[in-house]
Symmetry: C2
Subunit: 407 residues, 2 copies
């Protein structure tokens, strides 16, 4: 039978008491006005130290070292920070990851590089539930390169290896999918799908925007070819922080991205006559590294490194399990339905609920300092960033949802 | 006859005393270790208020408003900030400028949009002295679109309308040039060259990286079609700050850039099935706006707005005139030569000097806190950001150059 609110309060307290990562919560900025932040999957909270990271950068680095700082480290930020993300979050050995541009621009660059490297193949496989920018970029690339998009319609278990197997073949250049579905949080079988793509001679490209920093990825181990992802969600880089791109080392001498810029050239300051790509993953860089935008994510990467991604994933699972428990007790009786998998092994770091009233409910919750996000037509996403979120906060937020559905 | 050091000190003092903009210098961060900063054309100094702009953003906006801030202003930052740059620095009416991406990525997007809009024309005109990233992008776009690059070799007066006239014709899709040459500081005849391009039925695209914020541009008045530029030079946006792009309103319904992203879509949050570009200049945006990277430039734009671009240009001319005066007195006798125009009306905001020893001299100057930059093979650039640089600082820096050439 459904748990009472008092039972749930006791459950939340017990879970918080047992949470070995709970001390890290104090590392983040919390303001009284925000009673429950349920959208860490869209924009992670800032760490408390980030205020000083940005402030001291202005006076102690930018103002003091001035252009000398380019030689003293800024020039290497795309690969240095990429290596850190690779190690802490992606299971990627050094020399395969860069930080640069937006996720959208990196999807364009990598997808172009991938399809141009498979000249005899004229199809890109993706799914109808993929994030809009992935689909929009693919649509544009297909139009300009004369390719056909092969759309998978996800089933009840999302995009499975079987569904991919049904559409890949000798014409497939690349399979472009998200590891965690931005709406349902369905966690795809990345190793299985990557293997299916490879069996068909295609490249596997993954969007890790909703998994990087919360779900272990193991890119190298699973033989992924290309990947991109966002740093302002579970990597807490701040609004619009630059994205990351991964290109497996075996492709470095073969794949070429189209936006040939001076900062991805072999010798940027030679100011040479012709573009010669830098060796290795550096060629993915085009323009000047967005140094200021890269500062905040360093604080979170340092914390993730201390906490450990496996522990973070374990807490993430516990948080979403508890959110589902609260849903079953308080929200299901009010007609709310769960639109995410019940099986934690195939669920990412968020939970999506559905109800016809959510388009009305969410703006009202925002006014009350309870902040999930709304995904049309009727989805409310509960995104639980493990290091900054308590079980009590989950309960506070979902109780407010119940109250507003009643209102 | 050459002036003595005492004469030059007196001249510098008199010029500083007469400088109506001198009070603004205190708005910037100055540290004792930096005796003379002569590279404001590469990376502008931070303003004193920028430390607090970044710090308070973390706590008061990011941590407090969280994702609600997207609806409260972040979403509009590309066009809102673009409009401000357009008004303060570019002579561009609202609705034609965005801030997004790096200069390199924006050059790619605009150049692709331009050449794709001229299907019967298969040539791009540019010059061999253009900044490497412009040339590298054009080389890549030419290769992928089957275009021919027509190279102008600049004469003693740089790229003139006559030189452009000699190469444009019915095959020219676009003329891509820099308003201010990054090495020589030669100021191109933007109105004259734009008219020559138009007479040939071509589009005129300008890189304003070395002019925006220091040289009046008047894009609308001169009928420029497309422009890009950098915000970390004379707009003091900080290392790697996002760039701006201008697309004249008359092209909004015709030109289409290739990196189709959700933030440039007509309704980003509809998460629609097909990409539909946003109306107006917004379609130039691809990914999530780099909000943190956009903060610092706002402080400088506010100051430029107060000072006025015409006054800034007048001080810029006075600063470079004085640099040349010091060169003539102290450096020419040591074998240094001037590699920038003597005529201020065709000179941008910096002055380039040449000497065989500069590759040795510049690193030593950096150690002393005197910071010009070195441009191979033998150029030393003296970039004088008008609002943060005094005449005395110019003299201090160039005296150090003289001492090091003697060393």
């Amino acid at each position: 039978m459904p748990e009472s609110v008092n039972d749930l309060l006791a459950r939340a307290a017990a879970l918080d008491a047992a949470d070995e990562l709970s001390t890290h919560r104090a590392a983040f900025v919390h303001v009284d006005e925000v009673r429950a932040y349920l959208d860490g999957n869209s924009l992670g909270r800032p760490l408390r130290r980030t205020r000083e990271s940005l402030a001291s950068f202005v006076d102690e680095v930018w103002a003091t070292r001035l252009i000398r700082a380019w030689d003293e480290g800024w020039f290497d930020t795309p690969t240095e920070l990429g290596d850190t993300i690779g190690r802490v979050a992606l299971g990627a050995a050094t020399g395969q990851t860069v930080v640069a541009d937006s996720t959208t621009v990196l999807i364009y660059k990598l997808l172009r590089a991938a399809v141009d490297a498979r000249p005899g193949r004229d199809e890109v496989v993706l799914d109808t539930d993929n994030f809009p920018t992935d689909r929009f970029v693919a649509e544009g690339v297909a139009a300009e390169r004369g390719l056909t998009l092969r759309w998978i319609t996800p089933g009840p278990d999302g995009v499975t290896p079987e569904l991919v197997h049904d559409v890949v073949g000798p014409r497939t250049a690349v399979v472009l999918l998200s590891q965690v579905d931005f709406r349902s949080a369905q966690l795809a079988d990345l190793p299985g799908i990557t293997a299916v793509a490879h069996d068909a001679g295609a490249l596997a490209m993954w969007d890790l925007s909703h998994s990087a920093g919360v779900v272990p990825v193991d890119l190298d181990r699973h033989g992924v070819d290309l990947a991109v992802g966002c740093t302002y969600k579970y990597l807490n880089g701040g609004p619009g922080a630059p994205a990351f791109a991964y290109l497996a080392a075996r492709h470095h001498d073969i794949l070429r991205q189209p936006v040939q810029g001076w900062m991805g050239a072999a010798d940027p300051f030679a100011m040479g006559d012709r573009y010669e790509p830098a060796p290795g993953v550096r060629q993915l860089v085009s323009g000047t590294p967005p140094v200021v935008g890269m500062l905040a994510m360093r604080d979170m990467l340092a914390l993730l490194d201390v906490a450990g991604l496996d522990a973070v994933r374990a807490k993430s699972v516990a948080l979403t399990e508890f959110a589902i428990e609260v849903h079953d007790a308080l929200l299901a009786p009010r007609g709310v339905t769960l639109a995410s998998p019940r099986d934690a092994s195939v669920r990412g770091g968020h939970v999506t609920l559905e109800h016809d009233d959510f388009s009305r409910v969410v703006p009202e919750l925002w006014r009350q300092g309870v902040i999930p996000d709304f995904r049309p037509p009727r989805g409310l996403r509960v995104g639980l960033s493990p290091l900054s979120t308590s079980f009590r906060e989950v309960l506070t937020g979902l109780r407010a949802v119940a109250d507003e559905v009643d209102a």
